[in-house]
Symmetry: C2
């Protein structure tokens, strides 16, 4: 369904653009956006110091050779604000988020570690609710929470609760899932509507009400991924488009694969309520974080079979083939709009949606 | 060396004791102390929800069966304040801390994940210094930093930088290291002076100067541990006495082992400058966090051989046998003072030293 007006370049202007000297001398919110400034920080601070062949793969998680096994290993800290939102809270978000990063490596998630940074004065009853959600989410995905840590900081030095989860999964199949596997003519699938999580958070934060409540799509994707791997042995990449939305994720893949990507606007699944909310909030759905969504790159010959299998899954009813990989425009993402014009989809520059996860 | 005046009960009064209704309804600093309130939080919030056989072992890390291997898995978030202190900074502390938790499981640390929560406005040059220290500490211990995450929160919602590290290590020997293995007549060793880390942080925070600068003892203990495991195949427990100091760690072990523990005050290695600082700050050295120290429980017959091996190691020059496990006083820790009286060493109740790691 079309939403040309929302996806026009004019709506992608970031809300807070720090000066170039500011962002090179101090941390700005955009450094956590998942967009260009996040890349800057990686390239100027982290990668020069943490260089090694496993890290250099720049995946959602690391693939570790350990004995005769391959393990996936992934970490995420969650600082979402507000802590409770339609469809979930920081607890299930933290569990599902790391389950999904492991799933994107093709792994079956098995063990999680979790660490809490609590702010003095945070209500214990809220902490209990969050921990109960974590427990339920872990049980639902059959992962064991096996070790943890808790720190407390003074009032005014934190914000309620921050949660880190780090997970280990086992990669059972022999496939190699990596942006570098992507080749021209691969088709790109997604398992449903985009923008739900980001709009749910922003609506809650701004106190907006719509006719239908937009709920976060937080969900564990490991089972969907395993069902995809059963029908295709040529999955080239799996990636959950969280911070920075489809725009960031697809740009990263286009650069790594040294190919171009064309998205078809009229194929993008998106709720009308999300379109309406984006218009009010001045947001581009392609920049908005998703939490229970997965981009799948497979050869065109396998696209239809994968699509059908995805649609049979409870988390894939609105699955669609939304684009393809092309030889031209290497490293770039283009959108074919509803009026058949092509426009560049860039990474978000600054920070539209701070603390979305 | 003796320090009876410092270790007297009167000096253990916590600086901030919240009311009982306050600490059951909201988070207080003591919930992060590693003492009794930390135990309360575990028992009322975390364990009821996160119950499983691996977690229930309550070790410094989880021991995971994965294929034919046993892996150790451990997580810690670091919120130390100040970020830079004599002997180190939050960066090497975060690397060494998780290396040590893995080492205490008898594992050889292999892979680390790290996650940053940055506060808007934090100087990039300080972040670079921290990241360089992390890189150097990881290289020194031959561990690979393989995956990571960065989040940014608004100014006033964090405190410069918080760092999580989560690690995986491989357990190569067949030994079982667990507080439950501890039996009466085990002797207790430590690899050097106590209290250095906590006093270094507190001196920096309070702006105190002493004749000699007291430096944090942050160090990676994996190599020392492996050298101990080469001379003893009956190491019953290894534990690094960080938050809550020797008092918390030994009380936890005494409860888990259902034995008593007697410490010999005159055997406790401690720098005179630390004794002096504790007197000024009103702190009990037994409650103070250490970062590069390891408690080792072995049968008496192996005590001397382990002691000699530890003293040969660069991180064990001041090693000593500081106490033993007894049948009586189950679940309790006693200190035989320099004047030969026995006094109870309790867990710290509240929070003497917030944000020590």
């Amino acid at each position: 369904m079309g939403c040309a007006c929302i996806m026009s370049p004019s709506s992608t202007t970031p809300h807070r653009l720090p000066s170039s000297s500011q962002r090179s001398s101090e941390v700005v919110l955009g450094h956590g956006s998942g967009g260009k400034l996040s890349q800057d920080l990686l390239e100027t601070v982290f990668f020069p110091n943490f260089h090694n062949p496993i890290l250099d793969e720049v995946h959602d998680g690391a693939i570790l050779p350990l004995g005769h096994q391959r393990l996936a290993f992934s970490t995420d800290s969650f600082v979402v604000s507000p802590l409770f939102f339609p469809g979930g809270n920081i607890g299930d978000l933290a569990i599902n988020g790391t389950i999904n990063d492991l799933s994107m490596c093709g792994a079956i998630p098995q063990y999680l570690a979790t660490s809490f940074i609590l702010e003095e004065g945070f209500p214990i009853r809220d902490l209990k609710k969050i921990v109960q959600s974590m427990s339920a989410a872990a049980q639902a995905a059959s992962v064991l929470l096996v070790t943890g840590d808790t720190k407390v900081v003074e009032k005014g030095k934190g914000d309620g609760v921050f949660i880190n989860t780090t997970g280990i999964g086992v990669i059972e199949s022999n496939i190699t899932i990596s942006p570098k596997q992507v080749i021209p003519d691969d088709v790109i699938l997604i398992n449903g509507n985009i923008g739900d999580h980001g709009v749910a958070i922003m609506s809650e934060r701004e106190g907006l009400e719509f006719e239908t409540t937009i709920e976060s799509d937080t969900a564990p994707l490991h089972d969907l991924v395993q069902s995809i791997l059963k029908v295709s042995s040529h999955v080239h990449v799996l990636r959950d488009p969280t911070r920075g939305g489809l725009a960031s994720t697809l740009n990263e893949i286009a650069v790594a694969a040294q190919c171009g990507i064309v998205l078809e606007e009229k194929k993008l699944p998106i709720q009308p309520a999300v379109i309406a909310a984006c218009e009010i909030l001045g947001l581009d759905p392609l920049h908005i974080a998703n939490e229970g969504k997965c981009l799948v790159f497979v050869p065109e010959t396998e696209g239809e079979a994968v699509l059908q299998r995805m649609r049979q899954h409870p988390l894939g009813k609105n699955s669609a083939i939304i684009g393809r990989v092309i030889y031209e425009h290497s490293g770039k993402v283009l959108l074919r709009t509803t009026i058949e014009s092509l426009r560049r989809v860039d990474m978000p520059e600054g920070e539209q949606l701070p603390r979305i996860c």
